[in-house]
């Protein structure tokens, strides 16, 4: 390759190395190519950066990513690996209480174990899958740059009079001996094409008709959109750009949304089911949810937010009834209805203390399940909270324990002081729920004290409970606008490139002999029919199919 390649065309134009067709007159430059097969018309035969001779290290990387063949391979590998990821459910489809190292083997046996070991349980978050996407993105950038610049150059300075070989070796060709006046016929033919939306350029009897050049930019606009889209997706891994968490809010509660300054209150949750008469026979009697709704209030903490000992000061910022498809939205934060739980939950009771010896009743007093006051004074009696349990149980060592932090089976141990009781106080175990009272035999445990006093709730009006809890999904995604812009670009580019085609017709008349060649990037059928109709209108009848010069449909 030491010899300098002669890339000067006979028309006098100096082309760069790698040029296939002269940039000016279009004559094929490869001298050993003596066939008369249709020409390779990609990028009008202009050299691309990737065709540089003596590539250095950077050129080699450029060449790798600029290859459409490599790009196709990457696309194929991506969709094949994406297929693998759908064999078993991915890890992120499980919300809680889930240990992937055990789950897959237990559920699917050996294949499940291997699936987990190969990292396919989180295919789409794996480094190699993201790596593939990054490589596709790189390929999009380099492929596009490598092609769009030469193409732009070729299309922006087109010569009208082309070399006969260039015209005769197009995929759509026509030759004819003209009987009419050359100039007049060319005028007529040009006028016909103009009516079809072509722009006509004349150089004597030579003619260039062109339409829809803009469609050539479609693929590149599409690629820009895809690059934006991919970048937006990668940007979501920047801290603070994306959030996806869940909060459970029982009726009437206000709960802080983790990692934010916001609190959400569930004023009331309602669920409606389809009535039997609304359901087809097969589904009658099943509970098919029609609507679930959370009356939610969003608060922002304005002071004392991080102080564990003090109540935060909250300010209402938004009020919205959340239903599926209609989230609460506030400054990029969105709360979605995700699920619900209709197990009732006890919030507080208002019990009274009864002195069994006198029949005297003291109270009632407010006893919330969580954060209960440490002391209650009821007439002559004093109750000191010794301990409380949310889900009471007797542990293995015989000591009371709590199984969870939700008030499923709450219990309180008070030290009671008062008339007729030990001055140091006597312990009294109190279960607000009747079922627990029986289950754990409250009266037996309380023994002697139970004969003297009793703590009890009179009537349901003294019980405060939530009928249901709502599960909300908290989302934030700052990359979203970029995702939509990327998608819009991509779509516009696709439409431009798919529904319009760049068509060009070259013709020259030498001594009454008409040579016509036409090129399009897509839809040869339409190209031929354009040429045939225009010819027919100027008095030359021709079957569109006969214009085909063979070669492939690109």
């Amino acid at each position: 390759m030491l010899g300098v390649e002669n890339t000067k065309c006979e028309c006098g134009h100096q082309n760069s190395v790698g040029t296939v067709l002269c940039e000016s007159c279009g004559k094929p430059l490869e001298t050993d190519d003596l066939s008369d097969l249709p020409l390779e018309m990609r990028y009008d035969g202009v050299a691309r950066r990737s065709q540089k001779s003596n590539p250095n290290f950077i050129d080699r990387i450029w060449n790798f990513f600029s290859s459409v063949k490599i790009a196709i391979h990457m696309i194929v590998i991506t969709f094949l690996t994406a297929m693998l990821g759908t064999i078993y459910p991915q890890e992120n489809t499980f919300i809680n209480n889930f240990d992937p190292s055990v789950y897959y083997e237990e559920t699917y046996g050996l294949p499940g174990k291997l699936y987990y070991l190969f990292g396919l349980t989180h295919t789409y978050e794996s480094w190699w899958f993201i790596g593939l996407l990054v490589m596709i993105g790189t390929s999009l950038v380099i492929c596009s740059l490598d092609r769009v610049l030469p193409l732009y150059r070729a299309l922006s300075k087109q010569q009208i009079r082309k070399h006969p070989q260039f015209i005769q070796r197009q995929k759509t060709v026509f030759r004819h001996q003209l009987e009419d006046d050359e100039e007049q016929w060319s005028d007529q033919f040009g006028a016909q094409l103009k009516r079809k939306g072509y722009r006509i350029h004349r150089d004597g009897t030579a003619l260039l008709a062109e339409k829809n050049r803009f469609s050539r930019w479609g693929p590149y606009i599409n690629h820009i959109g895809l690059i934006l889209f991919l970048l937006a997706i990668l940007a979501r891994s920047i801290p603070g750009w994306q959030m996806d968490s869940y909060v459970t809010v029982p009726d009437g509660d206000t709960v802080q949304i983790a990692d934010t300054n916001y609190y959400v209150k569930n004023e009331k949750f309602t669920v409606e089911y389809y009535k039997d008469e609304e359901l087809p026979d097969k589904l009658k009697g099943t509970a098919r949810a029609k609507l679930f709704e959370t009356k939610a209030v969003l608060y922002e903490c304005v002071s004392k937010c991080d102080d564990q000992l003090q109540e935060p000061v909250l300010e209402e910022v938004k009020r919205h009834n959340i239903v599926v498809n209609e989230p609460l939205k506030y400054k990029g934060l969105k709360l979605y209805q995700f699920d619900f739980d209709t197990t009732p939950r006890l919030n507080a009771v208002r019990p009274v203390l009864v002195d069994k010896r006198t029949g005297e009743t003291y109270g009632p007093f407010e006893l919330p399940m969580k954060d209960s006051p440490l002391q209650h004074k009821l007439g002559p009696f004093t109750l000191d909270l010794y301990a409380n349990y949310m889900e009471f149980a007797i542990g293995d060592n015989g000591e009371p324990v709590t199984l969870s932090r939700d008030p499923v089976a709450p219990a309180f141990i008070f030290t009671v002081k008062g008339p007729g009781l030990d001055p140091a106080g006597e312990p009294y175990l109190y279960f607000p729920m009747q079922k627990d009272k029986v289950k754990f035999s409250q009266d037996t445990i309380n023994a002697a004290v139970a004969a003297k006093i009793e703590i009890r709730v009179d009537g349901m009006e003294n019980v405060d409970f939530s009928e249901a809890s709502t599960y909300l999904n908290v989302r934030m995604d700052r990359a979203l606008p970029y995702v939509w812009v990327g998608a819009a670009f991509s779509m516009i580019g696709l439409l431009m490139g798919s529904y319009w085609q760049h068509r060009r017709i070259w013709l020259r008349i030498d001594n009454g002999e008409l040579s016509l060649g036409a090129h399009t990037n897509k839809n040869w059928y339409g190209m031929r029919s354009d040429v045939a109709t225009a010819l027919q209108k100027t008095g030359i009848a021709v079957d569109p199919k006969s214009l085909d010069n063979g070669g492939n449909n690109a």
Partner: protein, 419 residues
């Protein structure tokens, strides 16, 4: 008579019109060789008759669609039955558009049976109107599903033209290794289509007989707290159970040809509630389809590919290649818009994320990547014609898996009802 009942009648009319249109297209193509006629005039005349019939069928199908919509108050695209009928309709719309461009009667000979099969397949699923669960009550659902289906319909037309190309150019008398391999795979494609027909026939035959069998399946689950609980599920079969569900007992079973008990039990890893029944359905499809295929072979005494091949004489293979490519090129932007962009908009509204790697989403992406690879292959030398037709055929298999396979095999957010 209410609107929903009326729409069902319109659907049946559409189905028969499609069947007739198919026959007319066959006459238009095969009849060219009949004596005492000008082949060109014959094709033109019968092609027009067939096109009128298929257009009337489409009109009737559209009537079905809109009256069912009006009658039920929701767009009929929300369960498998409604979606598949819509897909059939979309294929007819795509076919009509492509036909308007190229005016090739031959295309009808392949697009119509495809529609007929899909519409018949749809009828296998429960046909009642089902009220929508909250997640589906949104305008974007309508836009997403309809646009995606239209895009897929163009892929279906691309598939039909691709298969025609293969049947046209493959040498069915060739003895070389290459020719034999092509013959085998074309025959395999046709056999697969016959299997689907076999499935439809089996379902309707046993439904007509009123066949029923019932099993109780014991399933044990270990919950988060480590407590094992056993639930029993009832599984209803409408096809005689060759395969019974894993770990199940017969409740009731009609006898069929002296078969009083299931022959096999589904393997342990197929322990989903309906997986035994689905496996049984697959087994029946293979049996019925193979019987049908064997029957066709007995009648014609040669491979089906070789039977169809002579009909394709005189068709320009380049035209077929072009039609196939063009249908896919038209469908690709529509598919992108419907199956990806509109889907993302809807997902963002309904679930708060535009993309969640749900199996259906992943398969839509796979389909999109596949066809974008196809479009790039078309730019390369040597990938037109034969190779690209194979790609168009395989592509439609991927589309079908995305539409049906994912729902039947992999459950996700998009699970509708199944057979």
């Amino acid at each position: 008579m209410n609107l929903v009942d009326f729409s069902s009648d319109a659907f049946i009319v559409a189905f028969f019109l499609y069947c007739f249109a198919f026959m007319f297209y066959v006459i238009a193509i095969a009849g060219k060789k009949w004596s005492n006629r000008d082949p060109f005039q014959h094709e033109k005349r019968w092609g027009r008759i067939a096109f009128i019939a298929s257009s009337l069928g489409l009109a009737s199908h559209l009537t079905f669609f809109f009256t069912r919509w009006a009658g039920s108050g929701q767009i009929p695209t929300s369960n498998m039955y409604e979606f598949m009928t819509f897909l059939g309709m979309a294929i007819m719309i795509a076919f009509t558009i492509v036909y308007a461009i190229y005016r090739k009667a031959l295309l009808g000979m392949f697009a119509l049976p495809l529609t007929v099969i899909i519409v018949a397949y749809a009828s296998v699923f429960p046909q009642e109107v089902q009220p929508l669960i909250p997640a589906l009550q949104n305008v974007w659902l309508k836009v997403h599903v309809t646009t995606a289906a239209l895009g897929e319909a163009f892929f279906a037309v691309g598939f039909a033209a691709g298969l025609m190309y293969l049947l046209r150019v493959i040498d069915f008398k060739g003895k070389t290794k290459e020719a034999r391999r092509s013959q085998f795979w074309v025959e395999f494609s046709l056999y697969s289509i016959v299997l689907i027909v076999g499935f439809i026939i089996a379902v309707f035959a046993f439904r007509g007989m009123g066949y029923e069998a019932q099993f109780v399946q014991e399933q044990s689950k270990i919950d988060a707290k480590g407590i094992e609980s056993t639930t029993s599920e009832t599984v209803n079969y409408t096809l005689p159970p060759i395969v019974k569900p894993y770990n199940s007992d017969i409740v009731q079973m009609d006898s069929f040809l002296g078969m009083d008990a299931p022959i096999f039990e589904a393997p342990y890893w197929m322990n989903g509630v309906n997986s035994g029944r689905k496996l049984n359905t697959v087994v029946w499809s293979v049996i019925a389809g193979s019987l049908l295929y064997g029957l066709l072979r007995l009648i014609f005494r040669k491979p089906l590919g070789a039977v169809i091949h002579p009909l394709m004489d005189g068709v320009d293979p380049e035209d077929l290649d072009e039609i196939s490519y063009r249908a896919i090129a038209i469908g690709f932007p529509i598919f992108t818009l419907g199956a990806l962009i509109f889907a993302m908009i809807w997902a963002n509204i309904a679930w708060g994320r535009f993309w969640g790697w749900d199996p259906k989403e992943v398969w839509a992406l796979i389909t999109w990547l596949y066809y974008s690879a196809y479009l790039h292959f078309r730019l390369s030398r040597g990938w037109q014609g034969l190779k690209s037709s194979w790609l168009a055929v395989i592509g439609f298999v991927i589309v079908l898996f995305t539409l049906i396979g994912v729902n039947l095999v992999i459950a996700g957010l998009h699970s509708y009802s199944g057979v």
